[in-house]
C-alpha cells in the first residue's frame, strides 16, 4: 500500500470504455476519492496504471483493445503492481462468468455497476485496506465450487478446502448479510470476518481444485 496519502484519501483510476458511465461514477464517488486517471481500453489502462500507480483501480470487466482479454488482460499486464495497487472489478451485471476471470487474475473483489456511488466508495476503501469485497453472487459461486460434496482423499492442498468457519461466512454473505451482520451472527469481530473473506479470496485465486476448474470450464470462463 502506498503510505504517503493515508489521510482518508484514495487515488483512484477509472477504467471503463463507456464515457457516460465514467462521468456518472466520478460525480457519484465520495469526496475522499481522487480520480487520478481514466482509460477506455486495455492499452490506455495499462499505460495510465503503470504511470500513476494509484491505490485502487476500478476496472471494467469488458474492455475493448489489447488481445480482447478485457479487464483480465489489464490485470495480467499490471501483475508487478498487484502488491501496491488494488483492483476492484466492475461489471454490468453480477453474473459470475463476467467476474471470475478477473478475480482469478488478481482483482480483490467486484461490484456491479448498478450499485450506488456510496457503496462503490465503501468497496474502494475496503479494497484499499487490503480486504476483499464479496458480493452474494460471488459467495454463491465459491460455495458451488468449493462445496461440501468432495471426498477428503481428493483434496490434496490446504488451498482446496474452505474451513468450516469460512463456509459459514460465505453462506451468510450469499444469504445477503453484510460483513457486520455476519459478525453479529457468528459472534466474531468484523475484522475476523474480513480476514476470513480475504482467505477465501486467496484460495479462489490460487486453488487448482478440480471442481473449480470443472465449474469454470462448464461455464466457459477459463
Amino acid at each position: 500500500m502506498s503510505t504517503e496519502n493515508t489521510a482518508q484519501s484514495y487515488r483512484v483510476v477509472l477504467v471503463d470504455d463507456h464515457a457516460i458511465f465514467r462521468s456518472g461514477l466520478k460525480a457519484d464517488l465520495a469526496s475522499d476519492m481522487h480520480i487520478v486517471g481514466e482509460a477506455g481500453n486495455v492499452e490506455e489502462a495499462i499505460a495510465v496504471i503503470t504511470e500513476t500507480k494509484p491505490d485502487v483501480v476500478l476496472l471494467d470487466v469488458h474492455l475493448p483493445g489489447g488481445r480482447a482479454g478485457g479487464g483480465a488482460e489489464v490485470l495480467k499486464n499490471c501483475a508487478q503492481l498487484l502488491g501496491s495497487t488494488k483492483f476492484l472489478a466492475l461489471s454490468v451485471s453480477d453474473a459470475a462468468q463476467d467476474v471470475v476471470t478477473v478475480i482469478r487474475a488478481g482483482a480483490r473483489g467486484y461490484v456491479t455497476k448498478s450499485i450506488s456511488g456510496e457503496e462503490i466508495s465503501d468497496a474502494v476503501r475496503r479494497v484499499a485496506a487490503g480486504d476483499a469485497v464479496f458480493s452474494p453472487r460471488l459467495a454463491g459461486f465459491v460455495l458451488d465450487a468449493f462445496g461440501s460434496s468432495t471426498a477428503v482423499s481428493d483434496i490434496d492442498e490446504e488451498l482446496d478446502l474452505l474451513s468450516d468457519r469460512e463456509l459459514q461466512v460465505m453462506r451468510l454473505i450469499a444469504r445477503g448479510y453484510s460483513y457486520k451482520e455476519v459478525a453479529t451472527e457468528l459472534f466474531i469481530s468484523v475484522k475476523t470476518v474480513e480476514s476470513h473473506v480475504s482467505n477465501v479470496l486467496r484460495k479462489l485465486q490460487l486453488s487448482n481444485r478440480h471442481e473449480l476448474t470443472r465449474w469454470a470450464v462448464d461455464r466457459k470462463i477459463l
Partner: protein, 421 residues
C-alpha cells in the same frame, strides 16, 4: 368414429413419391396402404388417381414446411400477453407469405400441366384424335424431371441429408422415367439400332459438356452457398432487431415515463437486463423443473408484479424431490411477504445438498412478531409454516429490527418419513 382431434393434413415425411398417401392416411386415420391402393384403383379408372395425387401434392404443405412455419411463428421465449398476441399475428402473416412464396412456382408449373391434361382428356371425350402414345411418355418425362428436381430441392435445404438411400432411389427412378419416356417417343420414328448408336454419341457429348461446364458449376454452387450464408446472417440480424425492439426499446420507453420513480426504474432495468441476458446466453443448462429455476421464476414474477429487487443466489441444483412444489410455493409466499411489507432489496439463497434443499428469504424491513399476527391472517402461518410441515419440511422465521429472514428446509431422499402434523 370421428376422432376427437384430427391431425393436420400435411404431406408425410415417410414418403415414396411426395408423401401424399402417408399424409392422407394420417389425416383420415386409415392404413396408408389402403390409401395407396385407392390411388392405384383410381388411376386405373382413366388416370383420375394421378390427377388427384398431383393436386394434393401441389396444395398440401409438406410436414417440414408446416413445422418450419410453426417454428417461425412461435418463439421459445416467454413474453407478456400483448407481445405474444402481437407476435402471433406477425407470425401468422409471415407464415402465409412464406408458404405462398415457397410453393408458387410449383403451383404454377404443375397447375398448368394439370390444366393441359384436363383439356386433353376433355378433347378425347369430344372425339378429338389425340396421340396418347406421345402424351404418356411426355408425362413420364415430366414426372421424372419433377421427381429428380424435388430431391435436389430437399438436399439443398438440408433436411434429408441422412436419408440418402431413398433419395438416390427416387433420383434413379426419375432418371429412369425420363430416359424411358424419351426412348419411347424416339422409338416411334427411329430404328432400335440407330437409337443405341445415338445413345453412345449422346453419352460422349454429355461427358464432354460436363467436363467443360464443371468449373462453372462449382463456382455457381459456391456463390450460392455464400449468398445463402449472408442471407442467414441478415435474417439473424433482423431477428435481433425485432427482439431488441420488442423488449429493450419498450422497456426504455417505460423507463423514460417513470423516471420520477427511481425504484421502479431500477427494477425495470434489472428485469430487462435479466431477460436480455437470458435471451443472449440462455439458461445455465438447468431443467425447467429444477427447483432453482422454479424459485428464480417466482422471483422474477414478483419483481415484475411489485417492481422490487429480488436477488436469487443458488448453490447446487435439485429436482424431482418430494415436497418440491410445497417448497417453491412457500418460497413464493415468503418473497411475496417480503416484497409487500419490507423496503429495500430482497435476498434469496437456495442451497441444494444431498440431504436437503434450503431456501433463505431475507428482507430489510422492520421485522415482525409471529405471535403478533392475528389468527385470521393465513399468510405466514398457513401458506409458509403449515405448508412446509405438511410436506415434511420445516420453516423458521427469524425477525429483528434490521430485517426478517424466513428459512425453509425440505429434506431430500429421506425414505418414508411420516408427514406428521
Amino acid at each position: 368414429m370421428e376422432s376427437p382431434e384430427r391431425s393436420l393434413l400435411v404431406r408425410s415425411e415417410q414418403r415414396m413419391i411426395a408423401g401424399v398417401s402417408g399424409g392422407l392416411a394420417a389425416h383420415l386415420g386409415i392404413p396408408q396402404n389402403y390409401v395407396r391402393l385407392g390411388f392405384i384403383a383410381l388411376t386405373a379408372l382413366g388416370g383420375v388417381g394421378i390427377l388427384l395425387y398431383a393436386w394434393l401434392w401441389v396444395f398440401v404443405p409438406s410436414a417440414e414446411e408446416a413445422q418450419a412455419d410453426e417454428a417461425r411463428s412461435w418463439g421459445t421465449r416467454t413474453r407478456s400477453l400483448a407481445e405474444e398476441m402481437n407476435r402471433v399475428q406477425q407470425g401468422f402473416m409471415r407464415t402465409r407469405e412464406g408458404w405462398e412464396k415457397n410453393s408458387s412456382w410449383r403451383e404454377l408449373l404443375i397447375g398448368a400441366g394439370l390444366l393441359v391434361l384436363a383439356v386433353l382428356a376433355l378433347g378425347q371425350w369430344a372425339g378429338w384424335n389425340i396421340r396418347w402414345d406421345l402424351i404418356w411418355p411426355s408425362l413420364g418425362i415430366i414426372a421424372g424431371i419433377l421427381l429428380a428436381w424435388l430431391q435436389l430441392d430437399e438436399q439443398v435445404t438440408g433436411a434429408g441429408r441422412k436419408k440418402s438411400a431413398p433419395l438416390l432411389i427416387r433420383l434413379g427412378l426419375g432418371l429412369l422415367l425420363v430416359i424411358g419416356g424419351l426412348l419411347t417417343i424416339l422409338s416411334g420414328s427411329v430404328g432400335v439400332a440407330d437409337l443405341l448408336g445415338g445413345m453412345w454419341a449422346a453419352l460422349a457429348i454429355l461427358v464432354g459438356a460436363v467436363v467443360v461446364l464443371l468449373p462453372w458449376g462449382t463456382r455457381l454452387w459456391r456463390d450460392f452457398l455464400a449468398e445463402r450464408s449472408s442471407r442467414q446472417a441478415a435474417a439473424q440480424r433482423a431477428e435481433f432487431a425485432a427482439h431488441l425492439h420488442d423488449s429493450v426499446l419498450q422497456t426504455l420507453a417505460v423507463i423514460q415515463k417513470r423516471s420520477d420513480d427511481p425504484a421502479a426504474v431500477r427494477t425495470l432495468a434489472r428485469i430487462q437486463e435479466r431477460e436480455l441476458r437470458q435471451w443472449l446466453y440462455g439458461n445455465q443448462d438447468l431443467d425447467d423443473e429444477d427447483v432453482v429455476v422454479e424459485v428464480q421464476h417466482e422471483a422474477n414474477d414478483i419483481e415484475q408484479l411489485l417492481l422490487r429487487d429480488v436477488e436469487v443466489i443458488a448453490v447446487g441444483n435439485a429436482q424431482g424431490f418430494e415436497g418440491q412444489q410445497a417448497l417453491v410455493a412457500a418460497s413464493r409466499e415468503a418473497m411475496m411477504n417480503a416484497a409487500k411489507h419490507a423496503p429495500g432489496k430482497i435476498s434469496v439463497y437456495i442451497e441444494c445438498t444431498e440431504h436437503a434443499v434450503e431456501v433463505f428469504v431475507r428482507d430489510r424491513g422492520e421485522g415482525f412478531e409471529l405471535d403478533a399476527i392475528p389468527e385470521d391472517r393465513h399468510g405466514v402461518r398457513e401458506s409458509i409454516i403449515g405448508r412446509m410441515q405438511r410436506a415434511g419440511g420445516s420453516a423458521e422465521i427469524r425477525s429483528s429490527e434490521t430485517g426478517t429472514e424466513i428459512q425453509l428446509s425440505m429434506p431430500r431422499n429421506t425414505t418414508q418419513e411420516e408427514p406428521q402434523s
